[in-house]
Symmetry: D2
Subunit: 371 residues, 4 copies
Amino acid sequence: MIAGIIGASGYGGAELVRLLSGHPEIDGLALSSVTFEGERIENIYPNFLGRVSYPLLKAEQVIAAAGVVFAALPHGVGEEYAAACMERNIHYIDLSADFRFGDDEETYSAWYGKRYRFPELHKRSVYGLPELNRRRIRELAEEGSVIIGNPGCYPTGGSLGAFAALAKGLASPDSPIIIDSVSGVTGGGREPSRSFHYPECADSVAPYKVASHRHTPEIARNIAAMAGKAGSPVIFTPHLAPMNRGILSTTYIPLAEKWRLTMPAAMGGVLPPSKEIEAKTAEIREIYADFYRDEPFVRILPAGLTAATNRVRQSNYCDISVHLDLNGSTLIIASAIDNMVKGAAGQAVQNMNILFGFNEKAGLEAIPALF
Amino acid sequence: MIAGIIGASGYGGAELVRLLSGHPEIDGLALSSVTFEGERIENIYPNFLGRVSYPLLKAEQVIAAAGVVFAALPHGVGEEYAAACMERNIHYIDLSADFRFGDDEETYSAWYGKRYRFPELHKRSVYGLPELNRRRIRELAEEGSVIIGNPGCYPTGGSLGAFAALAKGLASPDSPIIIDSVSGVTGGGREPSRSFHYPECADSVAPYKVASHRHTPEIARNIAAMAGKAGSPVIFTPHLAPMNRGILSTTYIPLAEKWRLTMPAAMGGVLPPSKEIEAKTAEIREIYADFYRDEPFVRILPAGLTAATNRVRQSNYCDISVHLDLNGSTLIIASAIDNMVKGAAGQAVQNMNILFGFNEKAGLEAIPALF
Amino acid sequence: MIAGIIGASGYGGAELVRLLSGHPEIDGLALSSVTFEGERIENIYPNFLGRVSYPLLKAEQVIAAAGVVFAALPHGVGEEYAAACMERNIHYIDLSADFRFGDDEETYSAWYGKRYRFPELHKRSVYGLPELNRRRIRELAEEGSVIIGNPGCYPTGGSLGAFAALAKGLASPDSPIIIDSVSGVTGGGREPSRSFHYPECADSVAPYKVASHRHTPEIARNIAAMAGKAGSPVIFTPHLAPMNRGILSTTYIPLAEKWRLTMPAAMGGVLPPSKEIEAKTAEIREIYADFYRDEPFVRILPAGLTAATNRVRQSNYCDISVHLDLNGSTLIIASAIDNMVKGAAGQAVQNMNILFGFNEKAGLEAIPALF
Amino acid sequence: MIAGIIGASGYGGAELVRLLSGHPEIDGLALSSVTFEGERIENIYPNFLGRVSYPLLKAEQVIAAAGVVFAALPHGVGEEYAAACMERNIHYIDLSADFRFGDDEETYSAWYGKRYRFPELHKRSVYGLPELNRRRIRELAEEGSVIIGNPGCYPTGGSLGAFAALAKGLASPDSPIIIDSVSGVTGGGREPSRSFHYPECADSVAPYKVASHRHTPEIARNIAAMAGKAGSPVIFTPHLAPMNRGILSTTYIPLAEKWRLTMPAAMGGVLPPSKEIEAKTAEIREIYADFYRDEPFVRILPAGLTAATNRVRQSNYCDISVHLDLNGSTLIIASAIDNMVKGAAGQAVQNMNILFGFNEKAGLEAIPALF
């Protein structure tokens, strides 16, 4: 099968090129780029020299040639390509936010400032977080061609950290869940700007778009979907750190009443680590391990280990470590992903694998690089 | 005056050497090191070549020569030097945790595994966070020689982020305050170890000592002190990021009932940014600005700016940006310090300035370096 | 076939684990470690969790179980394992310097301070730089079991940069060849030390072991071997840069008389870039491209591109860009490798592939990662 | 005195703001910026908040207000400001290349593609490398207002590494001097571009503009000036490394006949380190130390130390370490500067100090930061 990539010259597109070039079910690629049309991909990304060589075509040519189409475009420009793919009856996997909100156009337009051009198209779409919607993706694929709204990078790591607690009733239903995330700079894409200029972000950490990042409603929807009820408040704070790849999310989940420990009053408001905390943590870790047991790309870390972005580097894994605050009232989950793989291109490939009934791990077998 | 530094060969000690070498009230230094006794400081830190040249002596020699003594030692070994200084009637500024807990030996020993050798000594000590205890430091200095327990790096940045909200009644009294911090690697000190080995921490972010870091009770005490009541629960999660200097703390403070906004129910649990949120944020920012108006080293950032470690680099500033979550229920404070300056050596110099009645900014006038 | 790795817990060993785990001809691994004997490899390197799980055995057990043995040990301790492998009639691929000097014990002992324990063993050894010795490696493998002295990281990148010029008579025979190299920190191995402590090497570049690095005689031998004459003087300066992987070598090769351009006298000693220089550079680039045409892992970059370590990251490639100084007298070659792959474990796998007649690229097909 | 800075919003200008704000002879600043005219400098660089606050004016206003003018502009636009300053009879210190070539318009236009607009102006200019031209700067200042062509960053570090050898006759007159330099990314300025986009330069090292960088003729002129003869060939290769500040130059200087050691033939072309080499190195190090004895900002490192950019960070020092290749024929000099200080703004301040007869170290007393 030929895989098409619309927008192949951005970072997400180029990472798709890399992953799909090694995919056992993909025989070739068709690539497009508005900016670099007519050039070859290895001239834009010389790391591909001698390995991957395709001309950059028009999007229409890609759609005409491909058996599946990925789009790695800015928000708001991909609907017509999705429509064309549906017409050609091929799956369309969109890495932008355009198809992440299904028929909830209201939320999409409130946050992205655009209306749907083809509202009916969104009924054929599904939010492509396999750990949430794998069954739905398969069902839709059986019915015909599907549009995948591939999740954002932050929502992937943050949601996976919270899902088990939500599904298993650990989380207090009303208290806000806080997701504090730190991302590498590739998340900002290939276009140079002051924010991602080397001297401005090297050797420094800072939050950005506090209480205003567009991934917030996406996370909130995931949490509501897994909790089985709408309206769970979510607070999300992204940070930028001087690294290339990776997102580390620390998620604070207030425990439901019955899961809280009753601790003695503490000097200064906090007790030293205790056996009781350790035992309860182990119990919850086991619940997490159970919940994700059949997931090929979620690893619940054993006691003593803490999630770190350099242990999932270049891989499609989400590593999760489970912790409990010293007063026994709040679950603390650390989750790590490679923002370019599980947070973007890898998850898109995983979705393709599910849509086509391939081995879900096909093309995603890379062992995390040591450094 | 001669300033003495016991433990001058560690990072904290060497940063003291650098700052005190440019201090207008300090005429010379007396330095000690157990590991490097007999060598000269510029051989350990060649950046000092041609600028700072002192032999590394014994601690006793330092105490004998100095008009004020700083100790940058591991926890649990400095009490006898403090005793010697009190006997000589000179101030002793301790950068370890040994004198941060005053007469609360119970908390100290629960977290640090050691008992006080000279309990009565701790009655002459004061926790040296000027924004909390400046008056007390001055009062004690008028009475005689003082022991300063210089604050930990995380407690400095985190506490300053929370203080105004606590003092002004913004914070809900019962809900836990969450402090999520990201530190540079110098915080781990000069001794090589796997955790701080370049290839293990470059290009990666990870939390560590989740729900077990020793700075937690120190933060809890500060929050209780400022809130005027004990027992406020605190959750603290430190992370390591690939940078040399700096701590960025993101602090989540649930608002007291009367400060909360009543927002309409949100699709997916979260509303887009609104004028209402913006106005309330501005109101709280003003409260923060008022609260810290006379503090020489706290800068409340104007709207549109977010605290970042590279804006306080090499300086004694704590930068604070004020934000409000989208549901109007939780205050989000970002605070940034240079962990080696305001988080350690700079704050120690600030304490010396207060003790001696020097200009509080003396020796700490460096403008933050651009990069 | 089972591949054995003696010294699997160091960085070189662990990178071998990663590469061999994906090798199509390798069915399993047998690993040893003195330090971590009895533990499992995924506990030492948690990036392997759920993917690679082997206990760390004794070296003897590894040799007994394996069909080929890799040794990633410090210098001077591997000879007895090599002897054991020869006795068992299996190939032994040594990543240390112990078998890089063949029967030239004099040079080895002058630089490494040790004598050969089993001198006769070194007659069965071959220096494993395939671009120099591929034929010899194959010939020896036909005769029986072979000891490979896997090249050092610097000699690999530096020698490949110079080889074509030497083989094709471009280089002046008497003038020194200067190799100025910049390495990532993983080259220093897993053991923590001040030199590789994050705060000491972050945000800084420095040379080290100037005119004294042990890779110098190895480079000199390679250059002599390719030039077909001993005694070509070599100057080698290694530098450390704040990155994890990669070596960038800039090699200055004075041109032989007939290759030099005769340029007009220049104002200030240097002329602006000219068509003449460009044309001569293109001619020499073509010679390089010809020379390496059949090499699977050497890429001669087209005009306009310069070798960079981030274009060979995680791959076995050596990228080479060809330049000419403005006076037309000195060839300037930039060559980039991943020090852990082509500079260590990848090249060892390449040697195994040659020894066994596997596809030389087997297990080494990774496309360089974008970041 | 008021110091004016034309082009204050770029990195060089902002670093001037920082340094001049702490200069004991400067009472205030007048700043201009075309891009940000009307804004305040602390809004462009929030690290200045609460410390430095000036509006960004027009260049003409700056010239009218100032007692000395610095220009941190792109090449080719500053001549008219220089003319205006000469008319007003105030010194003009230009950080661009426009006044580095004196009356050698031919070289300037060959490399920078522009002709002088006011050729006669260049007769009042002097190349502002104090270690080369201090006396000339003073002499000109006695005659009237002076235009300083402040040196480029690479020429500063590279030239200082070579000067002693040239002046003292150590260098072979005909062989090319090779300068291989590694720079931090701030050298590329504040304007975002792909080359300085974080993900493209993090964790990677590469050369750029090989045999074509505009600093080459500037270096060649310095070398010729110090050697007392034109035409010494120079080869210069700049590299980019993932750090913010700093340039490390490794300079290879073939020794004049009488300075060469006669070494025995070496196995493989290279001998191990020897006492003979060590003694000769010490002798040459002493010559370097003598040569720079009165220079306030050049430090010749003692044996055992190697120049490193993190030892001169934030300071105006140039650190130099002296080495000799193993065959005794080539001097290897490592020199380190902070590219923003001694390589740009600091040197400009040093030139101002010389012009006005201030203490040459005024405003440049910062001790290099440990990290």
